[in-house]
Symmetry: C2
Subunit: 262 residues, 2 copies
DNA sequence: CTCGCCCACTCGTCTAGATACCTAAAGGAG
DNA sequence: CTCCTTTAGGTATCTAGACGAGTGGGCGAG
């Protein structure tokens, strides 16, 4: 029964050729942008808006679905529709694989998250040998079978990233790299110990909407894209020694790179 | 009246607790993934699916809207719903600002697109002085007013990118940089001629859903995210001399970076 | 043969409800 | 005090139908 706080939302323009549900979405979006509804705050219920605008419920729902598609709001069954809070963002710097960060015992993810005061977790670890996909095979230089290391990263219980590393079997088999826990400094440290001195990395970045599987694995709200990052590690002899395929919740990340002006 | 090609789509599972419109979306998605419907091909019409599944039209439309949200299909009023073709992708390499690429007369965008056999265009050029936003001011080191250069890039008539460069007035005012066409090599070449030797760039990358304005400017299909790239250029004295804010259609780009393993 | 109109097909928007299920708070039973 | 039930207020899904409007093919008039 909560009446609309007056003045928050305007009226419809029946002469406009903009569809009614879009007009309503526009007004809600603007109210959110202006901070009239704050992060986490509840929007008026469907019934409230039905009454306020004098339209049918489907029309109001249609408006909400527009805003959900933009990732601005999220609905909670039985509770209401809320302005989606922006999660804290993790910044990935381009020097994150610098050798000096490998000296310590813990993985970069854990160290970084601890420093930021969050509670990090690594999850659903799977290590197994498998057939390389066409794409992975190409990137690793025509390899048939690979060692795949899959894991999911969580911050304060929220999944933020899902990654799979692929390594040629002739490098990884029978080494600590094939163990669930490869030891301090991660697999890059192990690779160097095995004589594969790392020279540089190449990263490819794409952004797209998630597949249903990714929505589930990363517990993504609708309207949140994913960043798809494919990193290839090369040793000093120019050989590709690892490919890491990472899917990140786009609302949880900023990637930062430094480029020479050479 | 076109009857459904038989075998393409299955039946509903009434015992499943998965919503009907999701089941329909699942079947269509799978058919697309398996190549049963190819790029650009028309899906069965709403009426066809209403008949095939024995559900109401709103339910079918709901399924389509799921797939549209995933960027898999797009609807054309009066024609049908089609599998969305993947546009050709532009690859941005991390050496794209290397000095050697600046020697030629044309801009990097034009050269690259010509080489790829596409027809490039630059559009809606605007150059003006304006007040710096909080964010831009911070990045440029507490500057009040800036020169802003706005432009939109198109490939074969399709907008793919919208960019704004911001430069401190004390650097840009009264120079060729303030002209609509800054001359061969672009503004980076002019900056160097003016004695601001470029040392390095920093790039920040985010991905998110577009605002309604961005949808219009880039003519984005629904379900296509944008890549938001903010590049800051530093001269050899460590001063930030330019900030470039770029919004790209995510389905048209792959960003590539090379990182040292130092 | 060509032009223009009409019509069938298609998606876009909106209405008006029905049923289901979730959540939180209030109140009663033990 | 704890636990269960009830109830009010939410969203989720679905139905059935109406009207609007873009597209393209067929067909008749000229």
């Amino acid at each position: 029964m909560s009446p609309l706080r007056s003045g928050l939302l305007g009226d419809l323009d029946p002469t406009s050729d903009r569809a009614v549900f879009r007009q309503i979405a526009d007004q809600l979006r603007e109210a959110i942008d202006r901070g009239r509804f704050k992060e986490g705050e509840k929007l008026p219920s469907e019934a409230d808006l039905v009454e306020h605008y004098g339209v049918s419920r489907m029309t109001v729902r249609n408006s909400f679905s527009v805003l959900q598609g933009e990732g601005l709001v999220h609905a909670e069954h039985g509770k209401g529709v809320f302005v989606r809070p922006r999660p804290p963002v993790r910044r990935l710097a381009s020097d994150r694989f610098a050798r000096r960060h490998r000296e310590q015992g813990k993985s970069a993810f854990i160290v970084e998250a601890d420093a930021a005061g969050s509670h990090p977790q690594v999850d659903s670890l799977e290590v197994k040998e498998e057939k390389a996909s066409q794409d992975i095979s190409t990137r690793l230089g025509s390899v048939r079978r690979v060692l795949a290391r899959r894991r999911r990263y969580l911050l304060d219980g929220k999944p933020v990233e899902f990654a799979t590393s692929y390594l040629p079997l002739d490098i990884a088999r029978g080494t600590p790299i094939a163990e669930p826990n490869p030891g301090p400094g991660g697999i890059y440290a192990r690779l160097e110990e095995l004589g594969h001195h790392l020279d540089h990395f190449e990263e490819e970045i794409r952004a797209r909407m998630p597949s249903p599987t990714e929505v589930k694995t990363l517990r993504l709200a609708s309207g949140v894209p994913v960043i798809h990052l494919i990193r290839t590690a090369y040793d000093t002899e120019g050989r590709a020694v690892e490919v890491c395929d990472t899917v990140m919740a786009a609302d949880a990340y900023v990637l930062a790179y430094q480029l020479p002006a050479t």
